[in-house]
């Protein structure tokens, strides 16, 4: 093969996707929502947890896990970055720009990989920044009520890192489903459905709620971000695998379909 090396071509495609990503305003607004919402919500949730009665009626129990406020708040950011992922392809399909993109880069899987690279880099950076900021805020609030933990506590750094990873997982899931569905509204609906709907499995009678529920994205996310993982679900290590398998399988399906279908 003559011409530029594979690495050069890959770098060029990533540069192209990075230019696309940062040259539209929606990127900025979505990321703003993804940063501000979880930080604000986690502080509020931490206050609520800290001020909950030590023992009382069901539903107002104190948190068993000091990292829970952070995870709850990140779930708000998850929807925002999932939309960002969906739009990466659907905004191009809706305008016909996808034909310009694929005419410039006939190796469509390379385009998928370049978009995934840009989205991962941004959402990992933002996700980790948000996770550690929320953690700091939450623990400051909880510490005032002697419920906090420090970053040095065993298991905490890994759990906070995994919380930051959650945004990247969901944006990649959105990217893949956007490439598969090819319509913005449908892609967003599908992504939210895949993330949220399996939560109803928790309503199954025990032990089936755990046996099936441990394969869902949100239960896996809960396990890897908890200081005290639930006993009836997968271990954090296995849950991390489950968490990564969701976008992994979706991206594999997208990679197959994207080359088979007419643009």
């Amino acid at each position: 093969m003559t011409g530029p090396s594979l690495a050069t071509r890959a770098t060029d495609l990533v540069a192209s996707e990075w230019t696309k990503f940062r040259s539209v305003r929606s990127t900025f607004w979505v990321l703003l929502v993804a940063v501000v919402t979880p930080v604000a919500v986690s502080a509020v949730v931490a206050f609520a947890f800290a001020n909950a009665p030590k023992s009382g009626a069901a539903g107002s129990r104190p948190p068993s896990d000091p990292l829970l406020p952070e995870v709850i708040s990140l779930e708000y950011a998850v929807i925002a970055v999932a939309v960002l992922g969906v739009l990466a392809f659907t905004s191009e399909y809706s305008t016909g720009l996808i034909r310009v993109t694929f005419a410039a880069a006939p190796r469509r899987r390379a385009v998928l990989a370049a978009k995934a690279t840009v989205l991962s880099a941004v959402t990992l950076t933002v996700g980790e920044a948000v996770a550690f900021t929320s953690f700091g805020l939450d623990q400051a609030v909880l510490a005032g009520h002697h419920q906090g933990v420090s970053l040095g506590h065993p298991g905490v750094p890994g759990a906070v890192l995994c919380a930051g990873l959650l945004l990247c997982v969901c944006t990649l899931l959105g990217l893949a489903l956007g490439a598969i569905v090819r319509h913005t509204a449908g892609g967003i609906a599908a992504t939210i459905a895949v993330i949220v709907v399996p939560a109803i499995l928790a309503l199954l009678p025990s032990p089936w709620n755990g046996r099936i529920g441990r394969f869902t994205l949100l239960e896996a996310a809960g396990q890897v971000t908890a200081l005290h993982p639930a006993a009836d679900l997968f271990s954090p290590a296995w849950s991390l695998l489950v968490l990564l398998a969701w976008p992994g399988i979706a991206l594999a399906a997208a990679a197959v379909l994207i080359t088979r279908r007419d643009a």
């Binding site: 003559t2 011409g3 060029d12 192209s16 016909g96 720009l97 005419a103 006939p106």
Partner: protein
């Protein structure tokens, strides 16, 4: 050079392109003509590797499009001028396209100037008129300075100044020795731009001829005359090797004909030109009331060619 070889493309039960073969050569503007739905855009999408052909293949410069390493340096294309993100500036759009093929940044400014967009490069494309979007699409096609160029209906939405500009631009590209394929559903447009024509209807090839040949091949190349002694003149014309047929009065022209003498017949003459008919009449002392050389316009030829293959026609019952 673009080679389309026995190409077919079906979408479900609809055959968009049907065993189509033609070659687009460098150094001239080739018009790609056909009614709406004839398969022009589908053919272009297959050439660009966007749609998979059901049968046959298309080659650009002897290679399949999806085998090109830096495709924009080999083929520039504009399929749809509206294929833009409304929120992205013209410059950012071009830069993202350029980067994907390793085209350096200064080239973006060059094509902006080439398309006359340097003044609006920082504006969001969503606010562009269709004409400005066409120019932006042409700028994008020129990024890689490619030897082969394809434009799908590039004249749509352009103002007269823009149309003049784009015609001159296509001619320059061809004069550079590039291969230029321009689609249109309007013959009148192509007649003034294209040196060669590939005409399709219902996905099939109808004609692959030079624009000049197509004009000359027209069967409707005749002389209309009116003379009081038309029957006598018809005999003289026949003796000279021409063919004269009397033209029946159509219902539409009946009113105007009623003003003239009933004995004054209209003849349609082929095989002799207007000058020869006039000399012949004068030599025999026959007065002529009208002598009109008629040449079928390209539009007529085109309508004749495609009349059987128009998918959508007004007034059909």
């Amino acid at each position: 050079m673009i080679e389309v070889d026995r190409l077919s493309k079906r979408f479900g039960s609809v055959t968009a392109v049907d065993d189509l073969s033609f070659t687009v050569r460098p150094g001239r503007v080739t018009g790609f003509l056909g009614p709406n739905g004839a398969g022009k855009s589908t053919t272009m999408r297959v050439i660009l590797g966007l749609d998979q052909p059901t049968a046959g293949q298309a080659l650009v410069g002897g290679r399949r499009y999806d085998g090109l390493v830096r495709p924009l340096r080999a083929v520039g294309s504009l399929l749809d001028a509206s294929a833009l993100h409304a929120g992205r500036t013209a410059r950012a759009h071009l830069r993202s396209v350029a980067q994907s093929n390793g085209i350096p940044r200064p080239r973006v400014e060059e094509v902006l100037r080439l398309a006359g967009l340097e003044g609006v490069a920082g504006r969001r494309a969503g606010g562009f008129s269709l004409g400005m979007k066409q120019r932006l699409g042409i700028a994008a096609a020129m990024l890689g300075d490619p030897p082969v160029l394809m434009f799908d209906e590039p004249v749509n939405g352009l103002d007269p100044e823009g149309i003049g500009w784009i015609r001159g631009f296509f001619r320059e590209l061809a004069a550079d020795g590039r291969t230029v394929l321009v689609s249109s559903h309007l013959m009148s447009e192509m007649a003034q731009t294209a040196d060669h024509l590939v005409i399709i209807g219902r996905g099939k090839l109808l004609a692959d001829v030079s624009t000049q040949q197509l004009i000359e091949s027209s069967a409707r190349h005749d002389v209309l005359l009116r003379a009081p002694r038309s029957a006598e003149l018809a005999g003289l014309i026949a003796a000279r090797g021409g063919t004269a047929t009397s033209q029946p009065a159509t219902s539409q022209s009946a009113t105007s004909q009623s003003a003239t003498s009933q004995s004054e017949g209209a003849l349609v003459v082929t095989g002799l030109d207007a000058a020869a008919v006039g000399e012949l009449a004068a030599a025999n002392g026959i007065a002529l009331h009208a002598l009109v050389p008629r040449q079928a316009s390209l539009e007529d030829v085109y309508l004749d060619l495609t009349s059987d293959s128009t998918d959508y026609r007004a007034g059909e019952s």
